[in-house]
C-alpha cells in the first residue's frame, strides 16, 4: 500500500494513497465538521462544511471529494474557514423552516448538533419562510417534511447505492430544489419503494421520519450503511 505525506495545519502527517483529504484529516486526529457526508455513501460535497485551504489552489476545496496528494499543504481551521462554516449553517437555518422546539428529530438532528458545536446560536440572515409542499404521509411507514430538508442527498444516495431502488431523487435547482419520489409522485403510490427505511435512517434532520413519531422521538441508526458496504466489499456473506 502506497503512503503519502502531506502537511496539515503545520504538521507533517501521512495517509494511505487514494484517500480523500477528509479521511486523511480524520485519520490524523483533525476533525472537520460535515453534514452531507456519510461513510459508506459516495461523497458529493453538497454542504461545503468541510472546505479547507490548500496551498496553491485558487479556491477552497471540499475535503470530502478532494483526493489527498503527496506534498499538499492544508489549513483546516483558519479564522476565515471557521467563520464560513458558521455562515453555512446560518444560511441553512434561514433557508427553510427549522423549528427545533417542535421537531421529531430534536436531540438526534445533525444540523442542530453542528450548530451547537460550532457556536452558532442564531442566524444573521433573514428567514425566508418559504411555503413548501405539503407533508407526505401517504407511505405506510415513512413521513416526508420538506421544511426540514437541507438537500444533503444522503437519502437519494442510500436508496440508490445501498438498497438499489433509486426511489428518491432531486428536482429543481438552488433554493427551489426538492426531494421527490419516483416521477414526483406521492410516496404511497411509488412502485419502486421497498419500504426498507434506509432513507429515514440516514437523513440527518427531521425531514424523513417514522410516522407517528412525536417531538424529539426520532432515533436514527446509520450503522447498517458501513455494515452492508463492508460485507459486500469483503464478500463476507456467501451467496450463490
Amino acid at each position: 500500500m502506497l503512503v503519502i505525506t502531506l502537511n496539515i495545519n503545520g504538521q507533517d502527517v501521512s495517509a494511505p494513497a487514494g484517500v480523500t483529504l477528509l479521511e486523511a484529516c480524520r485519520q490524523n486526529g483533525v476533525d472537520l465538521p460535515t453534514l452531507c457526508h456519510l461513510e459508506g455513501l459516495t461523497p458529493v460535497g453538497a454542504c461545503r462544511l468541510c472546505l479547507v485551504q490548500v496551498e496553491g489552489a485558487r479556491r477552497l476545496m471540499p475535503a470530502c471529494t478532494t483526493e489527498a496528494q503527496d506534498g499538499m499543504v492544508v489549513q483546516t481551521h483558519t479564522e476565515q474557514l471557521k467563520e464560513y462554516r458558521k455562515m453555512l449553517l446560518e444560511l441553512l437555518l434561514s433557508e427553510r423552516n427549522h423549528i427545533c422546539s417542535v421537531c421529531v428529530a430534536n436531540g438526534s438532528c445533525e444540523l442542530r448538533a453542528r450548530c451547537a458545536e460550532l457556536g452558532v446560536d442564531h442566524t444573521r440572515f433573514e428567514y425566508r419562510c418559504p411555503d413548501l409542499p405539503a407533508i407526505d404521509l401517504t407511505h405506510e411507514r415513512n413521513g416526508l417534511d420538506h421544511n426540514r430538508c437541507i438537500s444533503c442527498t444522503r437519502c437519494i444516495r442510500a436508496c440508490d447505492q445501498i438498497e438499489g431502488a433509486h426511489t428518491l431523487d432531486m428536482q429543481g435547482r438552488g433554493v427551489d430544489n426538492r426531494i421527490i419520489i419516483d416521477m414526483h409522485q406521492k410516496w404511497g403510490e411509488s412502485i419502486t419503494c421497498t419500504k426498507c427505511g434506509k432513507c429515514v435512517n440516514v437523513c440527518p434532520t427531521g425531514t424523513l421520519f417514522w410516522k407517528g413519531s412525536t417531538v424529539a422521538e426520532m432515533q436514527k441508526d446509520v450503522g447498517f450503511v458501513r455494515w452492508i458496504k463492508e460485507g459486500r466489499e469483503k464478500k463476507q456473506w456467501s451467496y450463490i
Partner: protein, 479 residues
C-alpha cells in the same frame, strides 16, 4: 359629556391587554371593556402538520400551562387513533396534570395575588410584589416558591421536562414510572400539604377583611366545568356540566365531542380573544351578558357534587356555605377555590401513587388514523380547555378549533371590571388605588394563555381622561 378612559397596559392574557372605560354624559361608568391584544394564529398555522405533532406545538401556546394544552391535544389524538389508552398511562397523565394544578395555582396565589391580599391593594406599589412579600413575610413567600417548585418537579419527574414536555403522546405516554421516581414524588408531599394548609388557614381567617371586594365581585352567572360520571370534581377527563347561579343543573354532563351544540364563539372587533357563550341562552349580546358562564376553580367547585378526597371535601363543605344554598357567586372566591384545588390535587397524587399498577410498563397504545375528527377536553387550571382537530386520512390536520379556558371567562371578566369601575369611578375621581382594584378584578380570574405574573403586584397602568375633542384632561400613571 361622554368620555372614554384608557387603561393600558393591563394584565396579559396572551400578551398585553387594555381596558377602556366609557363614561356616559353624567360622568357615570357606562361600560368597561377588556381588549386582548395578542394574536399568534395557532389555529391556522397548524394546518398541514401531523396530528401527533400537535401536543408539541400547542405546548407553546402557553408557558404556564403547556401541560394542559398537551393533554387536551393528546386526548384529541387518542380519539383520532380510536385507541384505548392503557389505564396506567391515564393515571400517569393525571399525576402530571395534578402537578400542573399545584404549580399553576401556587403561582397565581403566591406570586400574583398574595401581594395584594397580604400587603394591601393600596400599599406602596414599589414593594407590592413577590419581592416585597419576601421582605415582609419571608417564611410564607419561600413556602409559596417551594410549593410551585414542587408542582414543577412532579411534572419533571414523570415527564422529563417541566415546561413543554414531550412525554404525553396520542395513545398514552412515552415512559412508565419507576419505583425511584414514585418515592421522589412521595418525599415532597408532606411539605406541600403543610404549605397549602397554612395558606388556606391564612386566607380563611382573613376573609372578613375583604368583605367589600367580595361584594363588588359578586354577580349571578352560570358556571361550568368537567365532572366525573358520578358528579365528582374532575381535572382530566369528564363530562361538561353547566349549572345556574342557584346551582341548579342546566346540563348534567355533555359528551366532549358535542360541545359545539352548547357553546358558540362570538367575536368583537375590539379584542383578539373570542367570546364563548351558552347557545340556548343566546342570541349573542355582549351588553346583556347573554349566555355568560364562568369556568376555573370557582366554576368547577360549583358544578361538582363533591370533591372525593377527605381533606378537600371538608374544605369544600365549608366553602359552600358562602353560597348560602346556591352557587358561590363572588369572583373574589376564585382565590379560595384555587387553594382547595391544590389540596385536592395533592391528595389525588398521594392516592394514585398507591395504585398497584402504577409502575406497569405498558403505557402506550399504537394506532393509525381511525377517525377524521377528535375532540380533547380537559380542565386546565383556569378552566375547561377544548382542542378540536379534523384530519385527513393520512393524519394531516385540516382544521383546528381551540376554545381556551380564559376565553370562557371573557364575558365574565368584562362584567367584573364594569362592576368595579362602576363602583369606584364617578366622574373625575380616578385614583391610583382604583387602577389596582380594576386590575385585581382580572387577576382573580388568573387569566391564562400567558404569564399572569405580568400582573404580580401592580400592573403598569395609565389612565387618560380625554375630553370629547380628544384632548387630554388628566393623566394618572402608576408603576
Amino acid at each position: 359629556m361622554a368620555k372614554k378612559i384608557h387603561i393600558e397596559p393591563v394584565t396579559r392574557i396572551e400578551g398585553h391587554a387594555k381596558i377602556t372605560i366609557q363614561l356616559d354624559d353624567t360622568g357615570a361608568v357606562d361600560e368597561a371593556r377588556l381588549h386582548v391584544v395578542e394574536f399568534r394564529a395557532f389555529e391556522k398555522f397548524c394546518i398541514g402538520r401531523p396530528f401527533y405533532e400537535m401536543p408539541g406545538i400547542t405546548n407553546r401556546i402557553c408557558g404556564i400551562c403547556p401541560t394542559s394544552h398537551a393533554l387536551a391535544s393528546v386526548k384529541a389524538g387518542d380519539s383520532i387513533m380510536g385507541v384505548a389508552v392503557p389505564p396506567t398511562a391515564v393515571k400517569l397523565r393525571e399525576i402530571m396534570n395534578w402537578g400542573q394544578f399545584v404549580q399553576s395555582h401556587a403561582l397565581s396565589f403566591f406570586h400574583l395575588s398574595a401581594p395584594d391580599l397580604l400587603l394591601g391593594f393600596d400599599s406602596d406599589p414599589a414593594t407590592r410584589n413577590v419581592m416585597g412579600l419576601i421582605q415582609k413575610y419571608p417564611d410564607l413567600a419561600r413556602k409559596g416558591v417551594r410549593l410551585r417548585g414542587i408542582g414543577q418537579e412532579i411534572i419533571r419527574i414523570v415527564a422529563d421536562k417541566s415546561i413543554h414536555q414531550a412525554w404525553a403522546v396520542p395513545g398514552g405516554v412515552r415512559e412508565p414510572l419507576t419505583a425511584e421516581k414514585r418515592e421522589a414524588i412521595r418525599a415532597m408531599l408532606p411539605e406541600a400539604f403543610e404549605t397549602i394548609e397554612t395558606a388556606l388557614n391564612l386566607l380563611k381567617s382573613n376573609l372578613d377583611k375583604f368583605a367589600e371586594e367580595v361584594k363588588i365581585y359578586d354577580f349571578p352567572s352560570m358556571f361550568a366545568g368537567l365532572v366525573t360520571p358520578a358528579g365528582g370534581l374532575e381535572h382530566y377527563d369528564g363530562l361538561m356540566r353547566f349549572v345556574d347561579t342557584h346551582r341548579k343543573i342546566i346540563e348534567p354532563g355533555i359528551q366532549n365531542d358535542k360541545y359545539r351544540d352548547y357553546i358558540e364563539e362570538a367575536s368583537e372587533s375590539w379584542s383578539y380573544l373570542k367570546f364563548p357563550y351558552f347557545k340556548s341562552q343566546g342570541p349573542y349580546n355582549f351588553k346583556e351578558s347573554a349566555g355568560m358562564y364562568r369556568v376555573g376553580p370557582l366554576g368547577r367547585l360549583n358544578v361538582c357534587d363533591y370533591a372525593g378526597t377527605p381533606r378537600a371535601d371538608r374544605e369544600l363543605e365549608q366553602f359552600r356555605r358562602l353560597g348560602k344554598g346556591g352557587a358561590v357567586t363572588s369572583g373574589f372566591h376564585f382565590h379560595y377555590a384555587r387553594l382547595i384545588e391544590i389540596l385536592f390535587a395533592l391528595e389525588k397524587i398521594e392516592e394514585t401513587l398507591k395504585d398497584k399498577d402504577i409502575l406497569d410498563d405498558w403505557v402506550r397504545a399504537e394506532g393509525g388514523v381511525n377517525r377524521l375528527k377528535g375532540v380533547g377536553m380537559t380542565e386546565a387550571p383556569r378552566g375547561t380547555l377544548i382542542h378540536d382537530y379534523t384530519v385527513d386520512r393520512n393524519g394531516l390536520i385540516t382544521d383546528v378549533n381551540l376554545v381556551v379556558s380564559t376565553g370562557h371567562n371573557n364575558m365574565a371578566m368584562n362584567r367584573t371590571i364594569t362592576n368595579i369601575a362602576k363602583q369606584y369611578i364617578k366622574g373625575d375621581n380616578i385614583s391610583e388605588g382604583i387602577l389596582n382594584r380594576v386590575e385585581h378584578g382580572i387577576r382573580a380570574f388568573d387569566p391564562c394563555l400567558s404569564c399572569s405574573t405580568h400582573a404580580v403586584g401592580k400592573m403598569p397602568l395609565t389612565i387618560e381622561l380625554l375630553a370629547p375633542d380628544g384632548s387630554m384632561l388628566k393623566e394618572i400613571s402608576r408603576g
